[in-house]
Each structure stands twice: as structure tokens, then as C-alpha cells.
């Protein structure tokens, strides 16, 4: 229960991480079962299957992780909306997207 499930880009997964769900290949065959502890070798093999994200168990507490993700998301919103000026509908849309992201990480 205290373990947290999340998707990480393959490049950020380090050996020793525990797989949180069955990992399937393109056709749907199980490559690695849930609960497997990933080794350097496995990570290299996974890269060959054109898989870019892994479901992993994370030991960072849910709250810490969410704050971090939300901050990254909000930064991206600022960047994408960088040149809208004070245009009306774009500012409204921006406030909706911000509310949406905040709601997601509540």
C-alpha cells in the first residue's frame, strides 16, 4: 500500500528498481513479470523492444513525488503559453489547464 506505482522513462530507471506491473512486448507477450527486480542487463534488453516507459514501484512518498511532478508540469505550461500576451481565450485556456493539472495531483 505504501509503495507507489508510476511510469518512468526508461533512461531514468536504475538497476535495482522493482517492476510494478507485467511488462509486455508489442504483441502482448510478457517480457518480465510484475515484481521483478531490474538489472542492468534487463534494462538493455528492454531498450531493444522499443519500450520507452516502465511501470515501477517508487519509494519516494506519493506527496513528494506529486509536488515535484506538478512543478514540472506547471513550468511546461508557462513555457508553452510563453507568447500569448493578454489574449483573452488563451489566458482562459491557460487557467483551465493549470486547474486541470492541480486537480490531477491533489
Amino acid at each position: 500500500m505504501n509503495k507507489h506505482y508510476r511510469y518512468l522513462p526508461l533512461s531514468k530507471v536504475t538497476p535495482g528498481t522493482v517492476l510494478a506491473d507485467d511488462l509486455l512486448d508489442k504483441v502482448g507477450h510478457v517480457l518480465l513479470p510484475a515484481g521483478a527486480t531490474l538489472t542492468e542487463r534487463m534494462l538493455q534488453a528492454i531498450a531493444h523492444h522499443d519500450i520507452h516507459q516502465l511501470p515501477v514501484e517508487s519509494d519516494m512518498s506519493g506527496a513528494e513525488e506529486d509536488t515535484e511532478n506538478l512543478a514540472t508540469r506547471l513550468d511546461r505550461i508557462e513555457k508553452i503559453f510563453r507568447d500569448i500576451g493578454d489574449s483573452e481565450p488563451a489566458s482562459i485556456l491557460k487557467s483551465y489547464v493549470i486547474n486541470y493539472r492541480k486537480g490531477e495531483y491533489k
Binding site: 505550461i77 508553452i80 489574449s87 481565450p89 486547474n99
Partner: protein, 284 residues
């Protein structure tokens, strides 16, 4: 600053090149052209798909994906099409054939993956909007999928010129469409329309291509506004994962035409992200 015309492209020349593009498989062409054809029954569609193993595999994966998640595993094509429905099946066929059969050009600055992510997300989002508005959503998906097809035409027919466009855009921090006009004197709306006419796309889809940047033009199908807003939302949600992504101009007229409120948008955002994830993992 660019007064050279080295990269300029003439419309006639482009139309000629479009005619040389490889044609898509017949099934896909048929489905891209006849959006209104409700005649083709589930059985007929299933029969056609059975001949294409890659589509069969993708359909089974989609039916078993968490989005459509049900408890029992879907193992046969018949089960999958019955569960997903003719509309979803046709959309998946349109999508996979376009994404996999279009030739990839040699243009280092063009991010094909981001392009397809953007097109698929816009298709899903446009369908979600039209569903919220109780419009016919079969059109919306296809129109969203094809709205930027002109970018693919330009990069396929003129890879070198397009490379220059993308470099220019990065240097000047400008909108893509302005960069295209400055360098090539033609933009992805012109190119998309030329292809749509050559491939006999339905008028609604042509309107969506023509109007996705300027939906306020007269006599456009309302679908143009839907695709315009879907396009902007997909940028706003960062779904193409393009580092330099920026929000395109958002038309007040289109925004008012849809007249949606915050609650509608939040649920559209959510549905779009969920469905995009399941499709994206299967197609790309």
C-alpha cells in the same frame, strides 16, 4: 532578413509532386474518403482487417488495453470489433495505415514521432469535443488526424527546404506557419488542401484543413472550429512532447462558437489524455 528565394516553392510544382506520392492501401483510402458510409457492416470490416496481420494485432491490443479494460481477455478479431465498434475500428485502420505507410523523408530537423503524437492527440481531442457538443464524431476524428497532413506533404516533397523552414523557425522563435511562408512561400495549409483534393477527401475534412489556423473564414464547416480548438488543446497539454512547443494563435471566434465551459474542458482534457495514451502505445 531572408530575401533569397532559393527555397521558394511553386504551387503547381507541389501538385505535381503530390501525384507522385505512393498511394495508400485500398482499404484505407476507401475509409478516408467515405466517412459517411455507414453501410459497411461489422462483418465486412472484420473480413478486410483479417487480411492485414499488423492491424489485427493492434486491434486486439486496443481491445485489451486498460482504457477499454474489461475482465475477460479478448482473443478473436470478431470479439474485438464487436467490443470496439465499427467506428473505432475504422479509425484505427485510418490511423495505422497513414502513420505506417507514409514515406519518411530525410529531414533531420523534422520530428516524425512528435508529428504523429500531435496528429493522433488532435484526432482524439476533436472527437471528444464533438461528442460533448453532440456532433457526429466520426468526422471529427478523421479531420483531427488529417488537419496537419500538409506538414507531411511539405517534408516529404521538399525535405531540404523544410529543414531550412524548421531551422528558421527555431532561430526566429516564430510560428511554424509564418516560417513556412517566409522560406517556402507556401504553407502546410496549402499543401494539405492540395493533397486532400487529390485524394478526394470529403468536404468537411477539407474545411478542417483549410480552417484549422483561421476558423473564422466564412462558409466553413463547424468542424474547422472543433479541430482548431482541439489543435490548441493538444499543444496546451504538451502531448506531442516537442521541447519547443508553443501555443498557436487561439481564435476568439472558434472559442465562442463552441461555447464550452470550464467543466467541459476539464473532462475533455482528461478523456483526451486517457484515450491518447492507449492509442499511442499501440500505433507508434
Amino acid at each position: 532578413m531572408t530575401d533569397n528565394t532559393e527555397f521558394k516553392v511553386q504551387l503547381d510544382d507541389m501538385v505535381k509532386k503530390i501525384k507522385d506520392l505512393p498511394t495508400l492501401p485500398e482499404v484505407a483510402m476507401e475509409m478516408l474518403q467515405n466517412l459517411e458510409d455507414e453501410e459497411s457492416s461489422l462483418d465486412m470490416v472484420t473480413e478486410k482487417i483479417a487480411m492485414d496481420h499488423s492491424i489485427t494485432a493492434k486491434l486486439l491490443r486496443l481491445a485489451n488495453s486498460s482504457y477499454y479494460g474489461n475482465n475477460s481477455k479478448v482473443v478473436t478479431l470478431q470479439q474485438a470489433t464487436a467490443m470496439l465498434g465499427v467506428k473505432n475500428v475504422k479509425n484505427l485502420i485510418r490511423l495505422t495505415t497513414l502513420a505506417n505507410k507514409f514515406p519518411t523523408a530525410n529531414c533531420p530537423a523534422f520530428n516524425f514521432k512528435a508529428f504523429w503524437r500531435h496528429s493522433i492527440a488532435t484526432a482524439v481531442c476533436a472527437e471528444q469535443i464533438s461528442r460533448t457538443l453532440h456532433m457526429k464524431h466520426d468526422f471529427a476524428f478523421t479531420a483531427g488526424l488529417l488537419h496537419d497532413i500538409g506538414r507531411l506533404v511539405l517534408v516529404t516533397c521538399y525535405p531540404t527546404n523544410y529543414d531550412e523552414v524548421l531551422r528558421y523557425q527555431e532561430r526566429t522563435e516564430s510560428h511554424l506557419i509564418d516560417a513556412e511562408r517566409s522560406i517556402m512561400h507556401i504553407d502546410h495549409v496549402d499543401a494539405g488542401l492540395a493533397l486532400a483534393i487529390h485524394w478526394n477527401f470529403s468536404e468537411a475534412v477539407c474545411d478542417a484543413i483549410r480552417g484549422h489556423h483561421q476558423p473564422e473564414q466564412e462558409n466553413l464547416n463547424a468542424l474547422a472550429s472543433v479541430v482548431h480548438i482541439a489543435n490548441v488543446i493538444v499543444h496546451a497539454l504538451d502531448l506531442s512532447q516537442d521541447q519547443n512547443d508553443r501555443l498557436p494563435l487561439l481564435s476568439q471566434a472558434a472559442w465562442d462558437t463552441l461555447g464550452l465551459g470550464e467543466a467541459d474542458y476539464l473532462s475533455i482534457f482528461h478523456e483526451t489524455e486517457m484515450r491518447f495514451d492507449s492509442l499511442n502505445q499501440i500505433v507508434l
